[in-house]
């Protein structure tokens, strides 16, 4: 029998430390790819109010791909517009300046920012995990972390080179509270003050900004007569900058610039002492800033508030020895006003999870994991560049300077949002060329993004588009045919199926794919056929059996008389009717595009990052 004091000892494929948006997204991605995962958090309970609140269009698409976006779409507030009010000395108050769409990306499936509290959003991911019987181990604190330095052990993907001691803070009396976990991989998702990052000795680059901010969540009384409180609104008042974020259930969040760090006394850690800032004080500043509009609430309608200094920092590395990864705030922090923290964090997890899963399943070499930092670190740096620029606009002094030097528009945050929209919405992200994102086929047409914003582009996410499913004439959005299940999607844009000769053409593609499946196995892929047209006397059963996963996998670019959708996908995607082959990464980004006549190039592409059945591990 185990004595009470002897620590438990266990093995796990992946241990995730921290159950915020980053950790939960990582765990969900791993779970959906069939990987056993444990996720622990130091907190005894989940948070339920405050914190991050804006989900960007690309993140909604990603949540869609996990099938967990539903409640978000139903219950969040949808921000369609961004308004701007500026101080006008002639009325000694603020005045309406502009109201513009929040989202300008033509390919965004959702043309809004979804706002809700962070606890709710974490709940979406938790529900997804619970479907797979994964539960967060709360009140669990890691106390030691050892990562092997033995090259052989690190290289052997089946080894367990990470050793962590966990302390179960509320272990039942008589049960051991300590546990030693041996993991193949560890993911540090433990927020801005990451213990994992600290243990790995990864430094952060960048610094705190010189300004102090407040944030407060409350419900205004009906007597409040500001007309734009259901839109994101930037208020450039005389002596402060405020950003209003409308939230679920008629709530609002205000971000309030409180002034320079120098204006605050220092606490004993040498940081500005914000302890004298209260909810009342924040509301007072806001009331003054909104003049001549009336802003009223009562103490019981104030849900949450905080004061903070923005740290704009990126970790020098996102990975240690190929076995320990950091995600989310643990590796990058920025100003909450840009609404990026939670979005970037979840997308880190989305990016990392399928890669870990591929290595764990012996599908890919360890080198695949290098692409995580290579893809996410430059993105984090870009976000911070945006963040600095954006935060600037809220500072009364620097704003005045910008207006003087470059005209009013530069200082408005609406246009800033638009300029950086591809980045902040997440829609425009294009991962750089790498083993998983490469234009292997030199003969494929140069991408003409001018032609259509929907053009399929290597490194960009597959845009949403309505197609028709042949077997049941149902409109299917292409994104919905690409679930985040850990598998690569092989899409055959097969041209028309209107005669028996065309069946012959498809037989050639079938042949080519047979070799691929023979070399790499079929279990890593989900095969889709998208026809340009199909005649009434042909059916999905006329697609050669080797190209047909099941009745759901044959789509056609036409929704004819069966629905309101319009067709035109081939043209929008930039695919000629002669067809093309598109490989999509498990996270929904285009991996490569190949001519149907050059299918052997697919082998070149896949060999770059997938193991063949005959390859040594």
């Amino acid at each position: 029998m185990t004595s009470v004091s002897a620590p438990l000892e266990s093995l796990i494929d992946v241990l995730v430390i921290g159950a915020g948006p980053a950790g939960l997204a990582t765990a969900l991605g791993l779970t959906r790819a069939g990987i056993k995962v444990r996720i622990v958090d130091i907190r005894a309970q989940r948070i339920s109010v405050g914190h991050a609140d804006g989900i960007m269009p690309r993140t909604i698409e990603v949540l869609d791909s996990y099938g967990v976006s539903n409640e978000l779409i139903r219950k969040s507030h949808h921000v369609y517009a961004i308004s701007n009010y500026n101080y006008d000395p002639s009325i000694d108050g603020i005045k309406y300046a502009s109201r513009v769409p929040a989202i300008n990306e033509p390919t965004a499936r959702y043309k809004y920012i979804a706002t809700h509290n962070q606890g709710f959003i974490e709940g979406l991911l938790l529900a997804g995990l619970e479907d797979a019987n994964v539960r967060v181990e709360q009140a669990c604190k890691p106390t030691s972390l050892e990562l092997s330095s033995c090259e052989d052990e690190l290289k052997d993907h089946a080894s367990y080179p990470v050793k962590i001691t966990l302390e179960h803070l509320s272990a039942a009396p008589g049960t051991p509270s300590s546990e030693i976990v041996h993991a193949r991989f560890i993911v540090g998702a433990d927020g801005a003050h990451s213990w994992v990052r600290h243990m790995l000795g990864i430094p952060m680059e960048g610094d705190s900004t010189a300004r102090v901010w407040g944030a407060i969540d409350f419900t205004p009384l009906p007597s409040s007569n500001f007309p734009d409180w259901r839109n994101i609104t930037t208020v450039n008042a005389a002596d402060t900058g405020i950003m209003l974020i409308p939230r679920e259930c008629s709530k609002v969040r205000l971000y309030i610039e409180l002034g320079s760090v120098d204006e605050f006394e220092q606490d004993d850690r040498g940081r500005p002492d914000t302890s004298k800032i209260t909810a009342d004080k924040l509301l007072d500043i806001a009331k003054r800033a909104f003049k001549p509009y009336i802003l009223e609430t009562t103490p019981d309608k104030v849900e949450w508030w905080t004061a903070y200094i923005i740290g704009q920092r990126v970790a020098t590395r996102f990975c240690d020895r190929g076995r320990a990864f950091i995600v989310g705030d643990a590796c990058h922090t920025h100003s909450p006003k840009g609404g990026q923290g939670m979005n970037a964090s979840m997308n880190d997890g989305h990016n990392l999870a399928w890669k870990l899963a591929h290595v764990l399943k012996s599908w890919s070499p360890m080198a695949l994991l290098d692409t995580y930092e290579a893809e996410r670190r430059p993105f984090a740096q870009e976000l911070i560049a945006f963040d600095r620029w954006y935060a600037e606009g809220f500072n009364a002094e620097s704003r005045a300077k910008l207006v003087r030097e470059k005209g009013l528009e530069v200082a408005l945050t609406g246009p800033a949002f638009r300029t950086f929209s591809a980045l902040t919405t997440g829609i425009g992200i294009q991962y750089a060329p790498s083993i998983i994102t490469s234009q292997v086929s030199p003969t494929v047409d140069v991408i003409k993004t001018e032609t259509s914003p929907f053009t399929l582009t290597v490194g960009k996410r597959v845009p949403p588009y309505a197609l028709m499913r042949v077997a049941d004439c149902r409109p299917i959005n292409l994104q919905d045919a690409l679930p985040s299940d850990g598998l690569s999607k092989l899409i055959v844009f097969a041209g028309p199926l209107t005669s028996l000769e065309e069946k012959g053409r498809l037989a050639e593609v079938e042949e080519a794919l047979r070799d691929i499946f023979h070399a790499f196995g079929t279990d890593k892929f989900r095969l889709l056929v998208i026809l340009s047209a199909v005649s009434d006397d042909m059916s999905y059963k006329d697609v050669p059996v080797g190209l047909r996963k099941d009745w759901t996998s044959i789509l056609v670019d036409s929704t004819s008389s069966f629905s309101n959708e319009s067709g035109g996908a081939y043209a929008a995607f930039g695919i000629p009717v002669t067809g093309k082959f598109v490989a999509v990464r498990p996270d929904g980004y285009v991996g490569t595009i190949i001519e149907l006549s050059e299918m052997r190039r697919l082998d070149d592409y896949l060999r770059g990052w997938l193991l063949r059945s005959s390859d040594p591990l």
Copy 2:
């Protein structure tokens, strides 16, 4: 202390007997209107397989209005197309004839039939009830029913003239199993062999048809090569008629015509003995009928099957003494192939619930309840007329006769679906003039349904249409602004709000409504304003406060640059820019349409069925 043998005795506003689709819909409607309800069912457990399976477009809209359609839309199979195959002697097998859209109603919000098993669909309503802590009392059997004949008691809406004895079949030992319930109203939702109907002595009109049918649910093996098994398909084979209904999770239901009643021996109740019909026998017939296509399954993939004779009957009355009502199969039965049983049943409940609630809350006189039978009985009769015509098409003999006499099309069921589409989809239902559905304003333009199928029409449901919510620029479907909450919706189509003068015009409408609210109270209504246009410098706060429920209640006919929607609602609805007033019943049907200049007519309309604060009860 209560002795074990003494029955419990209790009071309730409404007792619903039977928790099928009709009873559950009635209970949900009552609950949402704030009425206390109990619902009992004789079964020990809910059904989980088989039975009805098709939800028509209008029913999805109704489920939407209760906020319970979500899972249906996500998890059901969506039928967009109806295919037809006919026997061709030259190949001694069936041959593809046509494939047409299942739904041709241009205003249908959902252009498909949603299929899933009856247990799942009941689950949607149950979840809605559970939100209000209402649970079905299973294994509960009514054993006696007494309805007072005392006129005074019956007329006094606050009395409890219904006395029912309930037997709790699985009462815990030591607790009384009998209970006497005194109810203000009872609703019999206990299916085709309704005990309630029997106790009330209400006869059915109509008869059983002369034909025996089988139904079977199974998953075909992949080797089955019939290409249309994901569409509703009518198969007119040589010696039988089959209707295929695709279902959730790659399942199918087949309805199979088994022949005339005379071909069966009679059982001891004098009914055709169908005991020799087995799943294998049904599959054998189907296999022959589908030749030259292969249809294969295995016994473990057969989920449910049955054999039955269609009864096409309507109860002579749907109500007894204003206190006992019957809904669903208890008052009308038809052939399942038309897919109407469950839909009509739920819509009975939807129609009845708000009326009962209005009377129970002393908002309306008892006479309101007469409109239930007046509206639903003619509809049931029409359905049966359709049903006879439709079932005919499946009978090999009568089909041959129809083809001979009127050409092939008449015999196809696709066109039949189209001809009766307004009826079967539920979209075209128009309730006849009555106290709740009346064109009180003779000056309102004659309705020109030719102009636009979306024209608002007294007696028809409010069609779906995208508007923009002024406060947050969000596209809102008008139907979503009309939830089934038991309240009437007063819609002011207020014209433009682009200058201060227009505010003055709105003040006049505000004045008129103030009188209405004074007379009838505000708690019975939900007020909506739909502007034809709004300028940037005006906001929802410029709508007079008496017309403004909250920030969600001001909509505008324009979605401008903020989304993909197109505007044009005024034109589609047939509303001039000078505006109009539309009263919508709590169930989403247009009650009346009035000129803004004649708002006193609203008082005429409402007085017809709502009590004024000063009216005697």
